[in-house]
């Protein structure tokens, strides 16, 4: 095969293999970083939006931020700090308001081996859909039948190693030092299939059970103080004060009344109502600013890798003056020498972008796996979206590489032929 410009470019890059590899790697890392951020950004947003389920709003105790309420009640971000009384729930949501399709009381705050509990009432699994159109499905077992039955989310089951039939004890609070309610053991009734939402991390228990456990503690304390005999708590003798909840998942019958119900709840200082989708959009509005800064930093890293190309090529020009002079003697014009160096820069950019796309793809898979494993979030970029970003970032990298090649190419262009053809010393 005849020699061509690309042969010269490839030999030139091969002659400086270490420098070429380091430069390509630096471009690759920058491209991978950029791709990861861009691809994961959209995927993360979709994952959060997916996890809001089929509720319209979540209602928590008054006096807190709606966003905090959503993050606590839907994404298990931390144990809720405030409670709603059962009376407040009953008086507001169990009144037969025809606008409300369902209002599911939930209580959070305890844990099992680091996995957060979610105490729910009857019908929760058949009513609430963690993803719209995708109800909970039982991988093993079935809905809780007894008060102390527990249902494990897919990640919770995997993380704790518990399975149907096992006995488990809930820990008070979510920290590692919480008191273990060994006196009230639960039995695993079911394990759920993965939903790709934060609910996969949850340990679902019944509201009655958590009320009984905590009433047992408080009644024992009271008995110790007063000397009166403790009345064993049961589902039937629980008081409203003992029936605490931390939130209400609420769905309206008609989308048109959501705003009306929301406005009414906002007027009530005892509640904090949050439109879940809206709060998540607000969250992304806040995160978006940081997100833009992070993307800008990634872009700066990409530009610095372009400067790396410039330096690598510029420094090589000193060693290649004679080669350039010889090529000129053989018939290469100055523009052709310019284009050779520019091509070299573009090839480095292309190789770096290629390496970056591969690294980025691997990185996205790794991050997705970690998010699924640790947070139950399905953050998997759409292949078409990843491919689109890969093309855009590759194009940008090529442009950057070509820009970086201009100064070395200009230096090569201006190489004095006669001076560089003098005999070697």
């Amino acid at each position: 095969m005849a020699m061509n410009d690309m042969s010269i470019v490839v030999r030139s890059l091969r002659a400086r293999l270490f420098s070429t590899c380091v430069t390509v790697l630096s471009v690759g890392v920058a491209v991978a970083l950029m791709l990861n951020l861009l691809a994961m950004r959209d995927a993360s947003r979709r994952a959060f939006e997916r996890g809001t389920g089929n509720m319209d709003m979540v209602v928590t105790a008054g006096g807190q931020s709606p966003l905090a309420g959503v993050l606590e009640a839907v994404y298990y971000a931390r144990a809720p700090q405030k409670y709603l009384t059962w009376a407040a729930y009953r008086d507001r949501f169990a009144t037969g308001d025809r606008r409300i399709e369902w209002a599911l009381p939930v209580q959070q705050g305890d844990s099992y081996r680091g996995m957060p509990t979610m105490a729910v009432g009857p019908g929760f699994f058949s009513t609430f859909e963690p993803v719209v159109g995708e109800p909970f499905r039982f991988a093993r077992g079935g809905p809780p039948a007894g008060t102390f039955d527990v249902v494990l989310g897919a990640i919770a089951a995997r993380a704790t190693g518990a399975d149907v039939g096992d006995s488990v004890a809930i820990t008070h609070g979510t920290g590692p030092d919480g008191h273990s309610h060994d006196e009230h053991p639960y039995k695993v009734a079911a394990v759920l299939e993965p939903t790709g939402t934060a609910h996969d991390r949850a340990v679902f228990i019944t509201l009655d059970s958590t009320w009984i456990i905590h009433a047992d503690d408080s009644r024992a304390d009271a008995a110790r103080k007063t000397g009166a005999p403790e009345i064993e708590p049961t589902a039937e003798n629980l008081t409203d004060e003992e029936r605490k909840i931390t939130g209400v998942y609420l769905r309206c019958r008609d989308g048109r009344v959501v705003g009306q119900v929301f406005a009414e709840l906002r007027q009530d200082p005892g509640f904090t109502a949050a439109l879940v989708q809206s709060e998540i959009r607000n969250l992304w509005g806040i995160v978006g600013s940081i997100d833009r800064i992070v993307v800008a930093i990634a872009a700066a890293v990409l530009v610095s890798s372009g400067i790396g190309i410039l330096l690598a090529l510029y420094n090589s020009m000193e060693q290649r003056r004679r080669q350039i002079a010889v090529l000129r003697v053989l018939g290469a014009s100055q523009p052709r020498i310019f284009s050779l160096v520019l091509s070299e820069s573009a090839v480095i950019g292309l190789l770096g972008a290629g390496a970056g796309v591969v690294l980025g793809f691997v990185g996205v898979q790794a991050v997705s796996a970690v998010l699924l494993e640790d947070y139950g979030l399905v953050v998997r970029p759409d292949p078409a979206v990843f491919a689109r970003w890969a093309l855009i970032v590759t194009g940008a990298t090529m442009v950057l590489a070509c820009l970086a090649g201009i100064i070395p190419a200009a230096r090569a262009y201006a190489t004095a032929v006669s001076r560089n053809l003098r005999p070697l010393a």
Binding site: M1, A2, M3, Q323, L327, A332, P335, S418
Partner: protein
């Protein structure tokens, strides 16, 4: 310098050539007229600093003269646009250097094929042409695929000669081609260069400061240090 009487378009025709470095008081070169017939071979002699290499580079179109014309194969090389001049040089002028200037990272065969990149020879013929030239100059397959630093000085010179002749030039300019060789090898190297140029029907203008070289050429052109006094002559 005396004129040879060309029967065809001269391989090289220099008229009224002057060259002066910027800021210098006198011309370094002042050559009223000089011609080289097709396939003719001439030796340009003179001490260091008289402008022998500069003259070759002016002829090759690498340096602009202060005045005058240089025509290679009938084409005024300095009247051409830079790009056209580079193309013309690649196709019609071959150059051989004292230290050969073979490119590292390319095999001997590829060094010759690099020159063919800029020729008008069809690309599919490049490899065969380079291989045939190197074989004619005595290089085997193993040497052809070796890089320059793996070759002996003599082998490197053969590669340099093959590269200079690859595009079937009208004119070969050899700048002190034997200066780095010992006397025993000088004769062999010059035999090689002169024979190869004859075989390829290329004119040869060889520059050397070695007086012993004069015996190898029927035409010797001395270039003197004092350009005003020297004028031209051979």
């Amino acid at each position: 310098m005396p004129l040879s009487e060309p029967t065809d378009t001269p391989a090289l025709s220099v008229r009224g050539l002057r060259f002066r470095y910027p800021g210098a008081a006198l011309d370094l070169l002042n050559i009223p007229e000089f011609q080289l017939a097709p396939a003719e071979q001439a030796l340009l002699t003179g001490g260091s600093g008289v402008g022998k290499s500069t003259l070759l580079q002016i002829i090759a179109g690498l340096i602009e003269p202060t005045g005058g014309t240089v025509a290679v194969a009938g084409r005024d090389i300095h009247a051409m646009q830079p790009g056209a001049r580079d193309t013309f040089r690649g196709r019609r002028i071959g150059m051989i250097f004292q230290t050969f200037h073979l490119l590292a990272g390319f095999s001997a065969l590829e060094n010759v094929m690099l020159a063919l990149m800029f020729s008008d020879l069809p690309r599919r013929e490049h490899r065969d042409r380079a291989r045939a030239l190197l074989a004619a100059l005595g290089l085997g397959e193993r040497e052809m695929s070796a890089e320059p630093d793996a070759l002996s000085v003599g082998q490197q010179q053969r590669v340099a000669v093959a590269r200079a002749l690859a595009c079937r030039p009208a004119l070969v300019l050899a700048d002190e081609p034997t200066a780095s060789l010992d006397p025993a090898n000088t004769g062999a190297a010059m035999d090689l260069i002169q024979r190869a140029c004859r075989d390829e029907r290329a004119a040869l203008l060889c520059v050397s400061h070695d007086p012993a070289m004069a015996a190898r050429f029927s035409r010797v052109v001395p270039l003197h240090a004092n350009p005003a006094a020297a004028g031209a002559g051979a």
